[in-house]
Point group: C2
Chain length 236, copies 2
């Protein structure tokens, strides 16, 4: 007896499909809480089929994280590939990458994705992703800082160390943003919004001062970011 129809997919397509399914499930249910059964049913693939393409659940996770990090890092690479702009402009473009991305896509949806990724249960997942991004972004930001030093506009002793510090600071903003998002629609919303604005201001002020720039040189490039964030609909 033969089952009437089965379509063998090209390996790269199947791999991509499995990564898509895993990404959705890992971030909605959490990695540990997502069973292989969940993935298999969601992707409509058998166990044997899956393990033909991935050798473990962990490798599937790394596949998801690497793909996400590569997406971010490739955008950064585009920014730094511009040989004609000044270091200040490159830094500007670099720090605006995130805000631009968020603004150019459906912002409420992006907020929801961000919120989900920052749930407690995804802490390990997210930290691994951030580490990948930091490691990949350090040489890119270093290059910008080095250029600025050669131009005589940035005053830093060690560009690589400064780059790492600046990248670490963005974790601090993530934390403030998460709290603000959680406070939407509650009585704390107003205070949380003000705290978020404080965090944004302080992050960029810190970057200015670390690089020896006049206060206000760098900024988020999106004055209404807090307003746009807090007006987003809380999940419910």
């Amino acid at each position: 007896m033969k089952t009437p129809a089965r379509k063998n997919m090209r390996p790269e397509d199947r791999r991509a499909q499995l990564l898509d399914c895993a990404q959705i499930l890992f971030f909605s249910k959490g990695f540990e809480e997502t069973t292989m059964q969940d993935v298999l049913e969601f992707a409509n693939v058998s166990k044997g089929g899956f393990y033909h393409h991935f050798k473990s659940k962990e490798e599937l996770l790394f596949g998801v994280l690497d793909r996400l990090a590569d997406g971010v890092l490739s955008q950064m690479a585009v920014v730094v590939a511009d040989e004609t702009s000044s270091a200040i402009d490159l830094l500007h473009n670099f720090t605006h990458l995130r805000a631009n991305y968020l603004r150019e896509h459906d912002y409420p949806a992006q907020v929801e994705i961000f919120r989900t990724m920052n749930l407690d249960r995804n802490l390990a997942l997210l930290e691994q992703f951030k580490r990948r991004v930091r490691v990949g972004a350090t040489p890119i930001l270093s290059k910008i800082l080095q250029k600025g030093r050669e131009e005589g506009v940035f005053n830093v002793k060690d560009v690589e160390t400064a780059a790492e510090l600046i990248l670490h600071i963005s974790n601090f903003l993530d934390f403030a943003l998460t709290r603000a998002i959680d406070a939407r629609g509650t009585e704390n919303a107003k205070l949380a919004g003000e705290k978020l604005q404080s965090a944004i201001d302080l992050q960029f002020l810190t970057i200015d001062r670390v690089l020896g720039l006049p206060d206000g040189t760098t900024n988020f490039g999106w004055p209404d970011a807090v307003k746009a964030t807090m007006e987003t609909k809380p999940a419910g």
Copy 2:
């Protein structure tokens, strides 16, 4: 037939013993990789015995993390309880807490503990611990910053936000320290040591500038820290 001897322990003692065992195992093997079987054998307790005191493996983890965080936070609380010192002195004591602790104990052993805790497999564990410390330390550091603002020596808009930023920056130092420790005894040791010094310098420079203090006001308080660290014996 009766087994000749069994000692019932006082609940708090048994709990403490289980936490001790779990802490050792979680950080040496990793949380996910540590089996309840491992814990039970190491503590010489049966399954039923264990689950009489903890309701799950996760609760055991939280017990370990909370106990560790409480240890750190109680030291911070002692510093800030000093009502007579100036804000600068309090900040000094606060930032020196870690260096003092390391110096006053067997430093090579502390380095080994730090190295183990910072292994890749413990990333989730460590991040949860750091989060606990950060949340608990924010009001303490905020109090110091507030006092400094009232004295007119710190220039910050929002003390709580500034406190969180400063606490986040210490993650950056942890990262640099981990790399330096890993580089001991290799050909990269010299460079790694210099990078570590850069990171220490930049962390404290950043604190100075965030608080509007003259460069060099805050410091690690342990000039030979890098030397002491790099001279530690690599595990082998």
